[in-house]
């Protein structure tokens, strides 16, 4: 049965929303002339749009549906997950994002192939390892996002999940393959603004219906004070900080957005702006979750609390807008991942390894075709959920930890430790990835790790990063020194000292790639 009455106002708002999204796709198509336009939006994204896109790609439907439901269920205290999560952005601000923007390429494997390029094949092996793992992990993860989209369609509109999955996947494939990163980022901006406006406007309405914040407080203080207090312990918050700190700072879909911004200053401002967006949305969702518990204490499915609020508190237009924001949140996560996995196949595998002499037009179309293919494969997996058995569930649960375990140490040490070499970088990637999977299998499937250990080590990314670090140090000291060519884009000319600017400009990079300034390896 459908929760939403498909009245003319609701249908009108949703239709306008989808027209805007597809219009943005067409605008992206018209402004895309090169692969750099397609994959990093011509590198002209400013701080406001940049901050919004970081927010939208991080906050999926989980924020408006799952997190909202958790506040409804557990109370206000769950809000302390946000400072844990923001530790990731602080790590990124200090150690990763501005440095990656200064490097200024297109994908994370671009970084891996350049910094860890002393593999006898100019970084091809390192690139292939990084790109392959990204493509596999993200393609499977997309199937879970599409499945979630189908289930939300079913809950709201009462239609078969397969139809919802098909609509979500085809819409995302359409505007992303047409408009590339520019379309993806601009739709993220629309989504973040819609999400923020909808939840902020809902607060006075919800407080009006409940009699004000004092009434809410008095009610819960009388029988369950912890519901409106701070229920997470410091250890739990520290656990979130460790897990998210590694995963967010090294997430390839966030780094691709970092590449799209104008310069390092813009990157730092955008991180500040995403924290503002997340504070507004996180606080609003927490307050609304608590007030919804007071208004509707007997909901059997807490995940539907935000939808019930949309229908009963916000009124037809704002309610439809919030439901559109839920769909939009799924789409923005799907398009963010799609463009990164597509780039892994088209830019890293096809453009760099298979056909390095491809023209710009060939590269753009390779990216479009890759997005279509890597968008339809997850749709197939979602429609046939038993196809890969437990592998889908494993990757869905672990994808963020896998990326953190695999890329955090190679990124941070590659950017800040001159001695780090190719043997160390590749070993760190492989060992970090393997440790995350092994830890998950040992704890969740075989249960061989004592509970006292898992109470402290709350996420597989933590042992993954530790072992990755050990592998990096061992590999580096067992191998030779890195070549000057692999260091120059990150540390500049060694003769000019630490303060010198690295060669991050496209022209310098192009020269370096052509070998005109890169022949002086140790």
């Amino acid at each position: 049965m459908a929760l939403v009455d498909l009245g003319p106002v609701f249908v009108g708002v949703v239709v306008v929303y989808f027209i805007v999204v597809l219009g943005i796709g067409v605008y992206g198509y018209r402004t895309t002339k090169t692969e750099e336009d397609f994959l990093v939006a011509g590198r002209n994204i400013g701080p406001l749009v940049g901050g919004a896109t970081l927010s939208a790609s991080q906050m999926s439907a989980g924020t408006l549906v799952g997190t909202f439901g958790l506040h409804y269920l557990l109370g206000f205290g769950f809000i302390w997950i946000w400072p844990g999560l923001w530790a990731g952005w602080i790590v990124s601000l200090l150690l990763v994002a501005p440095q990656m923007r200064r490097f200024g390429r297109v994908t994370v494997p671009d970084f891996i192939a350049t910094r860890y390029g002393d593999d006898g094949r100019n970084g091809d092996y390192s690139r292939a390892i990084g790109a392959s793992l990204i493509i596999i992990a993200y393609t499977v993860y997309l199937s879970a996002q599409i499945t979630a989209g189908g289930l939300i369609f079913q809950s709201l509109l009462g239609i078969a999940p397969a139809i919802g999955m098909f609509v979500m996947a085809i819409t995302a494939v359409a505007y992303t393959s047409i408009g590339g990163m520019r379309a993806s980022i601009l739709t993220d901006f629309v989504q973040a603004v819609v999400m923020a406006v909808a939840v902020v406007v809902a607060i006075p309405l919800a407080l009006y219906f409940t009699g004000g914040i004092g009434t809410v407080d008095a009610l819960f203080q009388s029988f369950q004070p912890s519901f409106v207090g701070n229920s997470l312990t410091t250890a739990e918050i520290a656990g979130f900080m460790a897990a998210f700190g590694f995963s967010i700072a090294a997430a390839p879909y966030e780094i691709t957005r970092i590449y799209s911004m104008r310069d390092e200053k813009t990157v730092r401002q955008a991180i500040g702006i995403t924290l503002i967006f997340q504070t507004i949305i996180g606080t609003s969702v927490a307050i609304l979750g608590v007030t919804m518990r007071m208004m509707f204490p007997q909901l059997t499915t807490p995940d539907l609390a935000s939808v019930i609020m949309s229908l009963n508190v916000l009124g037809p237009v704002l309610g439809a807008l919030l439901i559109s924001a839920v769909f939009s949140a799924i789409l923005s996560t799907v398009d963010s991942i799609m463009i990164v996995s597509g780039a892994g196949l088209a830019h890293d595998i096809y453009g760099k390894l298979v056909n390095p002499n491809a023209t710009e037009t060939q590269k753009i179309w390779a990216n479009r075709i890759a997005i279509v293919v890597l968008g339809l494969i997850p749709l197939g997996l979602a429609l046939n959920s038993g196809l890969l058995g437990g592998l889908v569930q494993l990757i869905v649960v672990l994808q963020a930890s896998m990326m953190g375990g695999m890329f955090f140490v190679p990124l941070v040490l590659g950017l800040h430790w001159r001695r780090a070499n190719t043997a160390g970088g590749v070993a760190a990637m492989v060992v970090g990835f393997s440790t995350v999977v092994a830890w998950h299998v040992a704890t969740e499937i075989y249960g061989v790790v004592p509970a006292s250990v898992t109470a402290v080590i709350t996420d597989p990314v933590i042992p993954g990063v530790v072992m990755s670090f050990v592998a990096m140090v061992l590999g580096t000291y067992l191998g030779g020194k890195p070549s000057k060519k692999s260091l120059r884009p990150f540390f500049g000319d060694s003769s000019r000292g630490r303060g010198s600017q690295p060669t991050g400009s496209p022209s310098a990079d192009a020269q370096s790639e052509a070998g005109t300034s890169g022949g002086d390896a140790d």
């Binding site: 409106v228 200053k265 401002q269």
Partner: protein
């Protein structure tokens, strides 16, 4: 802890993150600007004052 106090506590922590982020951005921006100016001065001195 009252609901209002919980909200204000969270917003205070959030504002620490936000202020730190912008302050760090401002500090690094100035540092990079100084480095650029130092590099330009050094380049200027090497080329003998350029077109003065």
């Amino acid at each position: 802890m009252s609901f209002s106090t919980s909200i204000l506590t969270f917003l205070s922590v959030a504002s620490v993150y936000i202020v730190f982020t912008f302050a760090w951005g401002w500090y690094k921006g100035r540092q990079e600007q100084d480095e650029r100016e130092t590099d330009q001065d050094a380049q200027h001195a090497t080329t003998g004052g350029g077109d003065h």
